[in-house]
Every structure is written in C-alpha cells, then in structure tokens.
C-alpha cells in the first residue's frame, strides 16, 4: 500500500511539468491553429536556461527566481521565433507552418549544442527541499511534494487568466473564430505573438521546474514531444482542465507501468490515447472540431492537369540522365541515388494521402518501417529470397495500413494525425521490445541482396525501376477516377456523400495503397542497407516524410517526389558539417518563408513571372 501511494505521488509530481508544457501547446494550437513541433525544443531550452540561471542566482530565492525568469526568457525566444519565422507564413495553407516549426527544432538543437555542449547536465537540487519524507515507510522526495502542491496553482492561475481576464476572453474568442475577432478590431498579430509568448513561457517553466528531477540533455525535445501531443489529444485540443486530467493520467500510468509492466512503458500512453480516441473521438473534455470552420486561407487552388507533352519530355530526359549518370560517376553516386529514390517513393506515398486525400498522417513511418521489417523478418527467419520479400513487403505494409486505416479513419484532422502516430509508436515499441523476433535495439542485420544484385549499380537499377514504377502508379491513380474521388472527399465530403461516393471507403483504399508503396520503399531500404533498426519506425522518420511533402508542395502532384529529392540531397551534403542541423533547419525555414506554396509551387510562380509558363486565372 505504501509503495502504491508513493508511486501515485511520483506520478502526480511528474504530471506538473508535463501539464505546463502541454497546456502551452494546447493554447498555441487553439488560437493560432499551428501544430508547434518545436514545443519540445522550448521545453529543452527551458531546462538549459534554467540550469544556467540557477548557477548564477544564489539560494532558495535564486532557485525559484531562476525558474520564473526562465519562463520569461524562453517566452521571449518564442516571440522572436514567432515574429521571424511564423508571421510570414500564417497565410500559407493549413498545417504548412509545422514545417517551419520543424526547422526551428533543428536550429535550437544545434544552438543548445554550441552553447551548453554535448554532455548531459545534472540539475541542481532545490534549496530546502533536498531530502525525502517517509510516507507509510516509503521515501518520497520533498521536491515531488512541492511540485504536487505547486501545479494546481499554476493550473488555477492559467484558468483565471483564460476565464476571467480581458486577454483571456480574446484568446477564447480567437480559439473559436479568429476572423471574427480580427473583424472586431483586435490586432491579431499581437494576439498571436502574445499567445506564443505565453505558450513558450509555459514550456520553459516546465523545463526549468523538472531540473532537480531530470536535468537537461539534448534528447529532451523529442522525448517530451510525443508525450505532450498525447496529453493534449487525450484531454481534448484547447481544453485546459482536459490537459491537466490527461497529464495526471499519463504520468501516473507511466509510473505504474514501470513498476508492474516494464515492457509496456514505451507504448502505454499511446494505447491509452488510442482507447480514449476510439470512445471519445475529440478527447476527454474536447469539443468536436467543425470541419471547414477555419476555412481555406491564401490563394484558391488550381485544378490539377495531367502533364503536357513538354513536361513529359523533360521528365523523360531527367530519367535518362538519372539512368546514365551512375554508370559514369564514382560508385558512391549510385548509393546516394538509391537512397534518394527510396526516399522519393516514401515521400510520394505520403503525398498521395496528404496532398490528394487531405489525410495528414503523423505516423507514415509505420508502413515504411513495417515493409522493412516484413522483408527483413522473412529473410532472417524464413530464408525468403529477395525477389519474394520485395513482393511481400508492400503486401504486408498494405495489409497493416488496412487495419490501421480502418481504425484511424473514423477520426479527422489533428485527431486522425495523432492516432496514426500512436499506431506507429505501437509498432516501434513492438520492434524495440520483442527482442527474440526483431532483434530489438540491435535490429536485424546481414540482409543482403542475392548475388546478381549485390553490385551497387545493379541494385540502383532495380531500385530505379521499382521506385519510378511506384511513383508512376501513384500518379496514375491520382489522375484516374479513383484519385478524383479521393480529392472530392477532401474538397467536400458533404457533396461527395450526397452524390453516392462512399468517402471513407475511398480514403481507406487510398490509405492502403499509400501504405503498400511506403512498404515497397521500406523493403528496398533493407536490402540497400543490409539491415533494419527500430528507428525506421520512429517519429522522426514520419516527420521527415511530412516535412518533405510540405516543402515540395502539398498542392502540386510532383511535390512529394521533388521535395524528397531536394531534402535527401541537401541532407547528404549538409551532414558533413559539424552543425548540419543548424544549416538544415535554416534552409527549411528559408524555403518556408520564401516559397509558402512549396518548392514546386514556388518554381511555378517564378516561371509565370518571368514568362516561361502561362499563368492561370486569378480573380479573388
């Protein structure tokens, strides 16, 4: 009983920081509609800044003063980011801003590395709260008790701010209808900046407050990112009480999970989230998101046409060059080209879902990694030849996509995105923890192509044929009646259903097709690398694809492929530098700010301006 109570208290203490960070994310999303991937980075920044301030400021007053000051400092960093990076892209298509915030993650990672170095920092103990208290014989740190006592006050203060003050009224009004608030004479830019300050300050506070328990390290940003998304989604987007409830639920479950079911720890919160979303699709205390409520901002869309003769010619010429160059170039070119092709197919499959179907999946790595593991497991355990494994990889991944899609497609928008992420995490933890079969962290190694395909050049041609084939198949589907139906379901599900289109069935088939193509890419990846590790199923994998699709251009058919090629080449070039994340992050931000329609859209606009392409009509 004593242990039980002690663990309950640990869970409640952990919930404190989690709630602060998650409520900041929830506020920012509620008002600005930006999915702030960089929120974990502000949390990490809070830990580092807090650490430095605590070194400088002495005593108990210094400790708590440092925490508050950290909130202000991180909030101000948030303001700088908002003004420099996000303001230029508010009018870009929905969710595009998350690409910019992804760039911010990379920049902050390297800046933290530059300033604080690579070693983990041990947080200072809170003055006066260093010892433990024995509760029913079990030791409970005093600091935990302090956190348990403080968190409700933070929550109350936040509630008071939102529910009782004029600023809070504006924030709530903007959460419901930001256009109306703008029309009523509120300066939206400063409202957004203010909310960003508050949100980031909360993340900073969370980072500083957990220092005595966890310290500061460079992996904190991604480690907490998944948890805070889960908390916000379980609680219901935009609901503060919901966020508190969910933070407590997740933290307490985690502590109990560690004790009673250790193998569940990596996946427990995702299982809880999946269960909650299946019963309450909008979170515990969330309300239904009315589709189309926030409207399409920016330019109207252009109809998609099949490529004309001239474009076909250019693409054919490009393919010919691609086929010939590795013959003449050094062999690392063939290896690089293989990597790029595989990544392009992966990105194109996500683009099919996201661009045509409007289905934003945060967990597309499930199918890339899924296909990779299907192939690797077949080879490792059944001695399957590569030819068969490459056929079964897309089939297995497609089957997986059918199962996951069937569950996820009941939800829409951010909730759909989060549920796909949950399933990807589920698979990741399965691969990670089912050591006997998947090799766990050590992965599956020594999976090479048969003799005829061992040369880099031959494998490159095999990849070329399969990837280009896959990409062309996706393109064909986009122009076929099926692709039109998929777009119809995205543009207006109401009209589509009213004209006999079973929109969910269409989306389901598209989900399966995209999953199968990602699986093919994953299968090829295994044989290209000779191995597979759980990180092919990780969040970062999913995010890579997501970033690439947005960078390339969601609303252009070739966006996925072009983005994939550019991103993978840029990564290959930049990773040779010490601070490559900084360079890549700044590159991403630059593309986002300069070409909000993505690379393809930006190039097209440029082409129209200098007269190479015929502009389409624009009236509105």
């Amino acid at each position: 009983m004593g242990l039980f109570i002690a663990q309950l208290l640990t869970g409640l203490a952990n919930a404190g920081a989690l709630f602060m960070v998650a409520s900041g994310l929830s506020l920012i999303f509620g008002v600005t509609r930006i999915v702030n991937f960089a929120h974990g980075s502000f949390y990490m920044l809070g830990a580092y800044v807090g650490y430095t301030l605590m070194q400088v400021l002495p005593g108990a007053f210094g400790f708590w003063g440092a925490i508050l000051l950290t909130g202000v400092v991180v909030g101000l960093v948030g303001v700088i980011v908002e003004i420099l990076v996000l303001r230029p892209v508010y009018r870009a298509p929905e969710l595009f801003q998350l690409v910019a915030t992804f760039g911010v993650i990379l920049v902050i990672q390297d800046l933290a590395l530059m300033i604080w170095g690579p070693q983990d920092l041990l947080g200072p103990r809170a003055p006066g709260l260093k010892g433990i208290v024995r509760i029913m014989g079990e030791p409970v740190p005093k600091y935990d008790l302090a956190l348990i006592a403080i968190t409700p006050f933070v929550a109350l203060a936040l509630w008071w701010l939102i529910a009782r003050t004029r600023v809070g009224i504006l924030v709530r009004a903007a959460t419901q209808d930001r256009e109306m608030v703008g029309a009523l004479g509120v300066n939206q830019s400063w409202l957004f900046t203010g909310v960003f300050f508050l949100g980031c300050a909360l993340a900073g506070l969370g980072g500083a407050v957990q220092l005595p328990k966890g310290g500061a390290d460079l992996l904190m940003d991604f480690n907490i990112l998944a948890s805070i998304f889960v908390v916000v989604v379980i609680g219901g987007m935009g609901s503060l009480p919901g966020a508190y409830l969910a933070a407590v639920l997740v933290s307490v479950l985690n502590v109990f999970g560690v004790t009673y079911l250790p193998q569940s720890t990596l996946v427990l919160m995702f299982v809880v989230m999946a269960l909650v979303l299946m019963i309450r699709p909008y979170g515990l205390l969330g309300r239904e998101e009315v589709a189309g409520d926030h409207g399409q901002s920016g330019e109207p869309e252009r109809p998609i046409k099949p490529a004309g003769a001239r474009v076909r010619l250019i693409v054919a010429a490009g393919l010919a060059v691609l086929a010939v160059v590795p013959l003449l170039a050094p062999s690392w070119i063939a290896i690089l080209a293989t990597d790029i092709l595989i990544f392009c197919l992966f990105a194109a499959s996500l683009h099919f879902l996201l661009g045509l179907g409007g289905l934003v999946s945060f967990g597309h790595a499930a199918f890339f990694g899924g296909g990779a593991y299907v192939a690797a497991l077949l080879v490792a355990h059944a001695g399957t030849p590569m030819e068969l494994a490459l056929l079964l990889a897309p089939l297995g991944a497609g089957l997986l996509a059918m199962i996951i899609g069937w569950v996820c497609l009941r939800l829409t928008g951010v909730y759909f995105a989060m549920l796909t992420l949950a399933f990807a995490q589920l698979l990741w933890s399965l691969a990670y923890q089912w050591g006997e079969v998947t090799g766990g962290d050590d992965g599956l190694v020594d999976i090479w192509p048969p003799d005829w395909a061992t040369s880099n050049l031959v494998f490159f041609y095999l990849t070329l044929v399969l990837c280009i084939g896959g990409i062309l198949a996706l393109r064909h589907a986009a122009h076929a009646p099926f692709g039109y139906a998929l777009r119809a379901a995205r543009d207006s599900a109401r009209q589509a259903e009213a004209t006999g289109i079973h929109t969910r069935a269409v989306q389901w088939v598209a989900f399966a097709l995209a999953g199968a193509m990602a699986g093919l890419a994953g299968g090829l990846f295994v044989f290209a690398k000779g191995s597979v590790f759980p990180n092919e199923l990780e969040i970062t994998r999913s995010f890579d694809a997501l970033i690439v699709v947005f960078l390339g251009g969601v609303k252009t058919l070739s966006g996925g492929v072009v983005g994939g090629a550019v991103f993978e080449s840029a990564k290959d070039m930049l990773t040779r530098f010490e601070y490559w994340r900084l360079a890549l992050g700044l590159t991403i931000i630059a593309v986002v700010v300069l070409a909000p329609e993505g690379i393809v859209g930006g190039l097209r606009r440029l082409g129209e301006r200098i007269g190479l392409l015929r502009p389409s009509e624009q009236e509105t």
Binding site: P303, A480, P481, Y484, R487, D491, S492, V506, E617
Partner: protein, 259 residues
Amino acid sequence: MSTVLSVRGLSKSFGGIRAVDDVSFDLAQGELLALIGPNGAGKSTCFNMMTGHLKPDGGTVSLNGTPITGLKPRRIWRLGVGRTFQITATYASMTVVENVQMALISHHRRVFALRPYAHRLYRDEALELLDLVGMAAQADRACAVLAYGDLKRLELAIALAHAPGLLLMDEPTAGMAPGERAALMQLVADIVAQRQLSVLFTEHDMDTVFAHAHRVMVLNRGRLIAKGPVAHIRADPEVQQVYLGGGTLFNALDTSTDA
C-alpha cells in the same frame, strides 16, 4: 399523378425542443412544392431528415412507396434523390466540368476505377448538363473562382447528373441578386416540366415562392400550419399572422403581381 415522396408523422427533438413535430405530406410527380416558414421553423431539420443527414425520432419517409427513413445520404441518392445545399458544396480543386464529371463517375459506379483518366470520362455528358444550366461557357474555369450564383447553378448540374426523379433544394436562391433568383427558378421550373421531375424546395423569398411553386406548405415551430395552392396560402389568416405578423404585406404583394 403518382406520389413520389411520402412523409408521415416526421418528428425530431433537440434537447427539449420539438424542432419538427408530426409533419406529413405527399409530393406528386412533376410537382414543384415549396416549404416555407420563419427562421427556426424547422425547415432545414425537415430537409436533413429526408436526405439522410439526420435520423428522425419518429415518422417515416418513403420514396415511390419504398421506405428510406434513416438511410445514409449516399444510399438515398442512389435511389434517385438529388439535392443542392443551402451553403454551396463543390470541389474547389477541380474545374467546373470536372465537378459534374465526378458526379457522373459516381452515377456510372466507377469511383474505384483506375482507367481511363478521369478528365476524359463523361466529358460530353457533363458539358450537356452544364449547357442545360447555362454554365457551358465556364466549363473549364477553376471552380474556386466562380461567382456565388454560378456555384448554385453548378450544384444544380451536379444534382441532375444522376437523372434524379426527385430534387431537394435547400434555399436554392439564398444569397443571389433578385434577377438571378428569378432566372434560376425559371430554369428549375423548365427542367421540372421537361423531365417530369418533382422538386421540394425551401425558400425565404416570397416572390420566388409565389411565382414558381405549384403548392406551398407553411412550417411554424416545427408544425405544418397550412398547405395548399399558392392562392389558398396567401389568403390563409393563420399563415399571415405567424409568418408576416399581419395581412397588409400579402395584400400589397397581391396588387403588385396582378398589375
């Protein structure tokens, strides 16, 4: 004339409010029937129960004698019921003609087909429909740049793609200029006569209703308080009372149309 749509005892409550209360009526083939009533009378709720967007608490809806109560919207459409929306719903990323082609693809049950390219499928058929609603000249424009009245006409073409026997139109002329309204309703009336369609529409504009409807039903607080030919409705004192708060306007209207 045979009965196309038959509604019996339709009811729906939201919380404690009876939004639609025991509504019954028949719609004959070739008839243009208007459903009118003040804001909040329950017109849209009534409509949404007939199209399958809302499940009624009680009552039945049958189409040519077959019960369709509680069916999904796409099933009801398959049975030959077309509809247009109060707030237009079109596919913004497609051209005007592709919007109609999409409906035709569904009509021919080729939604899951992988060939040929969709922009070639049923293009001529779609152009004919666009011609019918006077939109042929704008066929290849992007849907996203159309004027509102044109979107309404496009929606009509989409609804006609399935060759429906019954057309449900929720405020077909909302947001249009007076001249456009008359033109659109005249178009609908012509199509009804030409194709022996039946139409049920809700409408706020009395000129439009009295000029084109064959019969009118008046809904107030969820109950049908009157139904009958136009002249009969105009003369009904209860309708005058609840709908316009007095008789003067109706009389004024009378003299203006007679003159």
